[in-house]
């Protein structure tokens, strides 16, 4: 075993390189800047391109152009930058432009606190687009996850032709820790599916099988490619045909929702005899696991579920993992953003008998294991 020592942001950059990312554009912002800084040391020597945009909107525009030219692209920012990204994110969703976007979350609202962590953007990431289309949001809990989930994020993004978010946190991105990158089994790299031309078919840039993303050809290919942010038909030209529009909208939703099983990443620790399951994500899940280990030493068995995929909501997983438990405790580094999704899953699946407790904290410091033990023990 050989350990390296790095912050989560460096791990994201290394994960991106391992995934075959060749283009980065971003704008400096604490606590995400070191992703940019790392990409700037890594991409040029590999023939990749790393650009500082004149602002966040431009950074996204560069990424969109590069992705449409066939590159695997990464960008990184924090909450204030996501605000500016959002118009371009809507474009990337509606026009099926793959990219990975890292949000190293900091305490909000607004400019908030540049060097204080939070998981306050979770629902912002989910609903960041006009039209309310589903998003894929992955949440790392440590540097190793930053590496691994970045690889998954690129895979999901290429597979579904959509932007994929990594909801990191200052407390992961800028915390250095020992990490054994060789210890993880990496997923096989998924590449964008290119259109295979044959004599019988013309390329329609948005023609796709049901619940799937369209096959890709880059701008600059021998076959002409159209890309547009406007409501479009499979040929890439504006349409007002309600049936065509409805089909596209449904496909944009279904391609993500129907992939839920493939997209669901998590860790769980079921302790025998436990009647309580603590559900958490991100850096908070580390304190949760510490708290439950300490409780176990005192003879109090509590199980844990750590969600790595926040969206699309892993409904099946939440139902299955929660089923044996009387009580569900949700801990979040915000004032309660994901708890509603969990309650909705229980409601939809008629799991009305669960006692649900919640603790949220967003004051610039990590939630301590002691606090979590107190919340669990007071139930």
């Amino acid at each position: 075993m050989a350990l390296s020592f790095m912050e989560g942001n460096e791990a994201v950059a290394r994960g991106a390189i391992a995934a075959g990312c060749t283009f980065f554009a971003g704008y400096p912002i604490t606590p995400a800047t070191t992703i940019f800084a790392n990409m700037l040391t890594m991409l040029p020597s590999k023939g990749g391109i790393c650009i500082q945009g004149e602002d966040e909107i431009a950074s996204m525009g560069y990424c969109i152009g590069a992705s449409m030219a066939g590159k695997k692209v990464l960008t990184a920012t924090s909450g204030p930058g996501i605000s500016l990204y959002s118009e371009q994110i809507s474009f990337a969703i509606g026009s099926e432009i793959p990219m990975v976007i890292v949000d190293v979350q900091r305490l909000g609202p607004s400019t908030g606190s540049a060097t204080r962590g939070a998981d306050g953007d979770v629902q912002f990431l989910r609903w960041c687009n006009t039209g309310g289309f589903p998003m894929v949001v992955l949440a790392p809990k440590d540097a190793l996850d930053c590496y691994l989930l970045t690889l998954h994020a690129f895979n999901f993004s290429e597979m579904l032709r959509c932007p994929v978010f990594i909801a990191s946190n200052k407390e992961i991105g800028m915390t250095r820790e020992s990490v054994d990158l060789d210890s993880v089994k990496l997923p096989p790299i998924i590449e964008r599916k290119y259109f295979q031309s044959n004599q019988n078919s013309n390329y329609l840039p948005f023609e796709a099988a049901q619940n799937s993303a369209p096959d890709f050809l880059p701008i600059g290919d021998r076959t002409l490619v159209r890309q547009t942010s406007s409501t479009h038909a499979p040929d890439g030209y504006i349409t007002i045909d309600p049936n065509v529009i409805a089909q596209t909208q449904e496909r944009l939703i279904n391609k993500i929702e129907s992939a839920q099983d493939k997209l669901t990443l998590y860790e769980s620790n079921h302790r025998k005899g436990a009647d309580t399951l603590v559900i958490s994500y991100g850096v908070t899940s580390r304190a949760v696991e510490d708290a439950c280990s300490k409780l176990e030493k005192n003879g109090h068995r509590i199980s844990t579920l750590t969600l790595k995929t926040l969206f699309p909501v892993p409904q099946k997983l939440i139902c299955e993992e929660s089923a044996p438990y009387r009580r569900i405790v949700v801990i979040e580094m915000n004032m309660g953003q994901y708890i509603d999704n969990i309650e909705r899953v229980f409601f939809k699946n008629k799991m009305h008998d669960k006692k649900i407790d919640f603790y949220g904290q967003m004051n610039g410091v990590l939630i301590t294991p002691a606090k979590i033990m107190e919340v669990i023990s007071n139930g």
Binding site: F5, Q227, S230, A287
Partner: protein
């Protein structure tokens, strides 16, 4: 090729709109230059200028208002062989002002055709950044309170290498566009035209008036001598090609066996300029060399040369979960600012905690085991206090040993720096 025009999608402009003439001039330029459709991209954004991408049989990207230049830059950087032509209106010009400035400064090989018709045609003829103050437009009196910009002069001052201003009715427009596309670098063609649907209904604007405007405005016709310089893509690739070394992952194998390893929580309380983060790094690398896990959280001011600098380090044989400090085993107090930042910590320390404090640094009352050292007496410079402290804790086996520390210094510092670092850590090693 006779024409690049998409016969299935003919122009849909209002009768008399200058945009239609420009469409034809663009087509004629493409034909004259013998461009290949597959090597050519039109990038457009919102407004009537945003319809251009649909009229041509070339690659096309139509995006958000004012952002066309950003997509175009991403495409061109990714595929330098493409001819990338951008159309923007005076609306896009205003909202995308930062992108125009960036494109001028970069000098990436893009061609920007500005279709300036002095108002927002699509939304009701509101005033734009180029609307004259005395024009009658759809924004009541608002344009009277502002002045228009001369976009060519803006582009020049921002570093554009090729600028032409002309009438959209200029008979030589297609030749001008050929020149613009041929120019290696960022080229700007500002065409002045008539929005017959909105603007000319209430303003006296004819091709003749436009010619007079072009004549009276500062003249821009082609190469801007004083801005000539290498194209951005070439320049970027040249600079980037010198960066040959990928920062390979630095891996540390377990080299030392420690007995009775316990979790350590080490807090270094310093201030800017004391190289606290470097010292923290060394502690962690030392620990990793003994197969321990390590984590380090840093707290410093955004203005990096002032204020506190605090490192919170955990070393543990177990996997580290919560990365906050719960019960410190070692506190290194070498700056008042750092101590103030964590003042509450001291009251909670137990007698088993070692506090190393510099003589000049006051600390709150504590029941910890406090060792005071006068760093000046050992002739240690303030910027080396953190590093010197590591010698003190390593020599006492607090979490790390001297061997481990030496390994960390040797593997992370260049030889010359290593030698002086060893000298520094040794100063307090025997105290």
């Amino acid at each position: 090729m006779d024409s690049f025009l998409n016969t299935k999608r003919p122009p849909v402009f209002c009768p008399g709109c200058t945009h239609e003439r420009i469409t034809k001039a663009v087509d004629s330029a493409f034909v004259k230059m013998g461009l290949l459709p597959e090597n050519t991209v039109i990038v457009s954004d919102i407004g009537c200028s945003g319809l251009f991408d649909t009229f041509f049989n070339v690659h096309a990207l139509h995006g958000l208002h004012g952002r066309a230049l950003t997509y175009a830059a991403g495409i061109k950087l990714s595929n330098p062989a493409l001819n990338v032509i951008v159309t923007m209106g005076d609306g896009g010009l205003g909202i995308g002002g930062a992108h125009l400035l960036a494109a001028c400064r970069k000098n990436l090989d893009l061609t920007l055709i500005i279709l300036n018709n002095f108002n927002f045609g699509m939304t009701g003829g509101q005033y734009s950044v180029t609307t004259p103050s005395n024009a009658v437009v759809g924004s009541e009196f608002l344009n009277q309170a502002e002045i228009p910009i001369d976009v060519c002069s803006v582009a020049k001052s921002a570093g554009a290498t090729w600028i032409t201003r002309c009438s959209g009715h200029d008979a030589a427009l297609s030749d001008i566009l050929c020149e613009a596309i041929n120019h290696k670098g960022f080229s700007v063609v500002e065409t002045l035209g008539m929005c017959t649907g909105r603007y000319t209904k209430r303003n006296q604007l004819t091709p003749k008036v436009i010619d007079e405007m072009v004549e009276h405005l500062p003249a821009y016709r082609g190469v801007v001598e004083e801005n000539q310089r290498p194209e951005y893509g070439d320049q970027y690739r040249k600079l980037a090609s010198d960066k040959k070394n990928f920062p390979e992952l630095f891996k540390v194998e377990k080299k030392f066996d420690l007995k009775d390893v316990k979790r350590q929580e080490i807090v270094i309380l310093g201030s800017a300029g004391m190289r606290i983060v470097t010292a923290g790094d060394m502690v962690c690398y030392a620990a990793i060399s003994a197969g321990l896990n390590a984590s380090m959280k840093n707290d410093y001011n955004i203005t990096v040369l002032r204020g506190q600098s605090v490192s919170e380090i955990i070393l543990s044989p177990e996997k580290i979960g919560y990365a906050g400090i719960e019960s410190p085993t070692v506190v290194i107090a070498i700056s008042d600012e750092g101590v103030q930042r964590r003042a509450k910590l001291f009251g909670k320390l137990s007698p088993s905690t070692l506090v190393l404090k510099e003589k000049s640094v006051p600390i709150p009352e504590t029941s910890a085991n406090v060792v005071e050292i006068d760093f000046k007496e050992y002739q240690i410079k303030k910027q080396d206090w953190a590093l010197a402290s590591l010698g003190f804790i390593a020599s006492r086996g607090e979490g790390i040993t001297m061997e481990m520390l030496d390994f960390a210094l040797k593997s992370r510092f260049k030889p010359a720096v290593y030698d002086s670092a060893v000298e520094i850590v040794n100063k307090l090693a025997k105290v």
